[in-house]
């Protein structure tokens, strides 16, 4: 498994192995799950309180299903770690961050300088998402 390269939260990392969405409900002692692109993130909503780590796999950077999965979990109140794993490229992490990801375990390590620049790139945002940033329309109208 790729290493966590970037973690934007201060709690203790969960080291438990992530299980599949299908098996998570039955494995009552598990607290980490891994979402694949075809999985329905909403299947996890009944067991959210048990979850401490959700890994969302991006087998190919062109497949954006994990972005919706992440937002759905955050919208349902999930506050644990949300980790993007797989083919995670530096030019995507700003958008991933906005969808609620707060840790990144890319297959190929990101250039730290590029990653920092990417996360600081956008002065504002146009739309509400899963992060706390106020959209431009809110700044315009208070």
């Amino acid at each position: 498994m790729a290493e966590v390269q970037l973690r934007l939260r201060d709690d203790e990392p969960v080291e438990d192995p992530a299980v599949t969405v299908d098996s998570f409900a039955a494995q009552t002692n598990a607290n980490a799950v891994r979402i694949e692109p075809g999985d329905d993130a909403r299947d996890l909503l009944p067991v959210l309180d048990r979850l401490k780590l959700v890994e969302v796999n991006f087998p190919a950077f062109t497949d954006g299903r994990g972005l919706s999965a992440a937002r759905i979990l955050r919208e349902a109140g999930y506050a644990g770690e949300l980790r993007a794993v797989g083919d995670v490229l530096v030019d995507q992490i700003a958008a991933m961050r906005r969808c609620g990801f707060d840790s990144f375990a890319p297959d190929v390590a990101l250039d730290p300088e590029d990653a920092r620049a990417a996360l600081e790139r956008w002065p504002q945002v146009y739309q509400a998402a899963a992060d706390a940033r106020a959209p431009i329309w809110k700044l315009r109208h208070g």
Binding site: F61, R65, R71, D91, V125, Q127
Partner: protein, 543 residues
């Protein structure tokens, strides 16, 4: 028209800086082409046959003269002196150097323009009725709604890696001039029985390999929920759209496979959920944007009579290329970018400057790009039409052929496009030369040519459509009849075996001749085709 505030300026500047950085990383070898490709596409930069091609967004087709002058300057400084206006109301440059692309984006930003999301699997530039704000048959100006959606869709974090590209059109008139139902989402601004404005939403239209007319999935979305509703439509698509086959990845396939009712049910469930999150900009934001689109400051008290029709060429242009304006004494004038035998949609830097100056002097400093690859001066005094036409004519822009046989839509085809199977432009040029002399007699006839199945030339929606195919390495052309993009939206049917280049020109001549011999009073080509059906045309073509 909409003007950037400091927030918009900062966002576009950040995008330019981002792309400059990405280009640097590509040139220094930190990004592979595979990784760079989606990034450059999100900034409208393609690799085409002869060079890089840059597609610049013209949001909902609206430009001012300063912007068009900048587009002319870019054509001269960074390209080869011309640009190509596209069927999505954008402009493309064909000879761009990668190393200069970030500078071009910076030049565009200086006049509040960009190339954001003009390609790639994301929400593309939003198109609208080219007569918006000027047409008598519209409920309201649709552009503020398009601008609201433009901002919402710009850098939308959840929708940056959709299964496929995603196109939205907004109209507010009875007559659909934007081929709204051939978009992934088509929005028509309507009034409900209580008199409130809202949106009728159509989802799942498109052209390409599997053309479909979008079904209505909701009759009325209140205006202050439209962003949320679009977000729901997109989320269902992002999660469930097909990713196993590029040719089945558009939302039209999802809607078709699920069925409109099931897709709608899923959207409604998502919509109900999203409504609880407060993601909709407040009414005040819509009002702020609307204030940028005031009623044009036109004097309704002037003469309403037609200008002097003494010059027959001018009179013809007046009849074909101008449309009624909602304000008395004014007209909407369309500048044809289809000179007889010319390249559809191309304009030289010099011509762009002429058009910009006319817009500044005579049209409230406003211009529109149409999906038929022409340019509109939306607000002109009838009294100025003669002077406008003279200036256009002197610049080779005075062709009187709007919606006629010479007003051909043609995609770049194999002369420029790396996906093409056959050339489109030479076919358009030959048909234009052969049939333009009879244009007045033929009347309205919309002819559309695509160089491959991707259908950028909208061939499915042409009264006559032509599709270029590759037959064992030789260019071949299929003929379609009976398509239409408007309120009477329909998809063209293939006549039969394809033709070579000479053959397709002859086939169009035959089809037109049959129409002329069989038409009844007042019938357009399309009407005659619909009345008599395909059989007589087949007989004329292959019998």
């Amino acid at each position: 028209m909409y003007r950037y505030d400091p927030y918009d300026t900062a966002m576009v500047a950040a995008r330019v800086a981002e792309f400059r950085d990405q280009t640097r990383r590509r040139l220094e070898g930190h990004l592979s082409e595979e990784q760079f490709r989606p990034l450059r596409l999100m900034n409208g930069l393609y690799l085409q046959l002869h060079a890089y091609m840059l597609r610049v967004a013209v949001p909902y087709g609206t430009l001012n003269s300063t912007q068009l002058r900048k587009l002319a300057d870019i054509a001269e400084r960074y390209d080869r002196g011309y640009g190509h206006f596209t069927t999505r109301q954008n402009i493309q440059y064909n000879w761009i150097r990668l190393e200069e692309a970030p500078d071009i984006l910076a030049e565009l930003a200086s006049v509040e323009m960009h190339a954001i999301q003009t390609s790639g699997n994301c929400i593309r530039n939003i198109s609208a009725d080219q007569y918006a704000g000027a047409a008598g048959d519209e409920l309201v100006d649709p552009r503020p709604y398009a601008e609201l959606l433009r901002q919402w869709s710009s850098f939308h974090p959840e929708f940056t890696a959709l299964p496929r590209k995603f196109k939205i059109a907004v109209i507010a008139a009875e007559t659909d001039r934007a081929a709204m139902r051939l978009h992934d989402i088509g929005i028509r601004i309507v009034r409900n029985p209580a008199g409130e404005l809202g949106c009728a939403v159509y989802v799942g239209g498109g052209m390409g390999r599997t053309p479909m007319i979008a079904p209505l999935i909701r009759e009325f979305v209140p205006l202050d929920q439209i962003v949320t509703y679009c977000e729901a439509c997109l989320r269902v698509y992002n999660r469930h759209g097909r990713r196993d086959n590029k040719f089945k990845a558009r939302i039209k396939i999802l809607v078709h496979e699920l069925g409109a009712a099931e897709y709608t049910a899923q959207v409604e469930a998502e919509f109900a959920h999203l409504l609880t999150l407060g993601i909709e900009p407040p009414r005040a934001e819509l009002e702020r944007i609307k204030a940028h689109f005031p009623e044009p400051a036109l004097d309704a008290g002037g003469e309403d009579g037609d200008p002097d029709r003494g010059d027959p060429d001018f009179a013809l242009w007046l009849d074909t290329n101008t449309a009624p304006h909602k304000v008395k004494g004014h007209a909407i004038a369309t500048i044809s970018l289809k000179p007889v035998g010319g390249i559809p949609g191309d304009a030289s830097a010099e011509q762009m400057r002429v058009i910009a100056e006319l817009a500044r002097r005579y049209s409230q400093d406003e211009l529109r790009v149409t999906h038929a690859q022409n340019i509109v001066l939306p607000h002109v005094r009838k009294a100025d039409l003669a002077a406008i036409w003279q200036a256009l004519d002197a610049a080779g822009l005075g062709t009187a052929n709007l919606d006629g046989i010479g007003d051909i839509i043609a995609c770049p085809g194999l002369d420029y496009c790396s996906l093409a199977n056959a050339r489109s432009i030479p076919v358009a040029q030959r048909i234009s030369e052969a049939l333009s002399p009879r244009s007045a007699e033929i009347g309205e006839l919309k002819l559309k040519i695509s160089g491959c199945i991707n259908a950028c030339g909208h061939h499915h929606a042409g009264h006559i459509g032509i599709l270029g195919v590759d037959r064992k390495g030789v260019e071949n052309y299929q003929l379609l009849l009976g398509g239409s993009e408007g309120a009477d939206c329909s998809l063209g049917q293939i006549t039969g075996p394809g033709f070579d280049e000479d053959g397709i020109v002859a086939a169009v001549e035959k089809a037109t001749a049959l129409y002329l011999s069989r038409r009844e009073a007042g019938e357009r080509f399309l009407d005659t085709y619909r009345r008599i059906g395909m059989a007589p045309f087949k007989e004329a073509l292959y019998g």
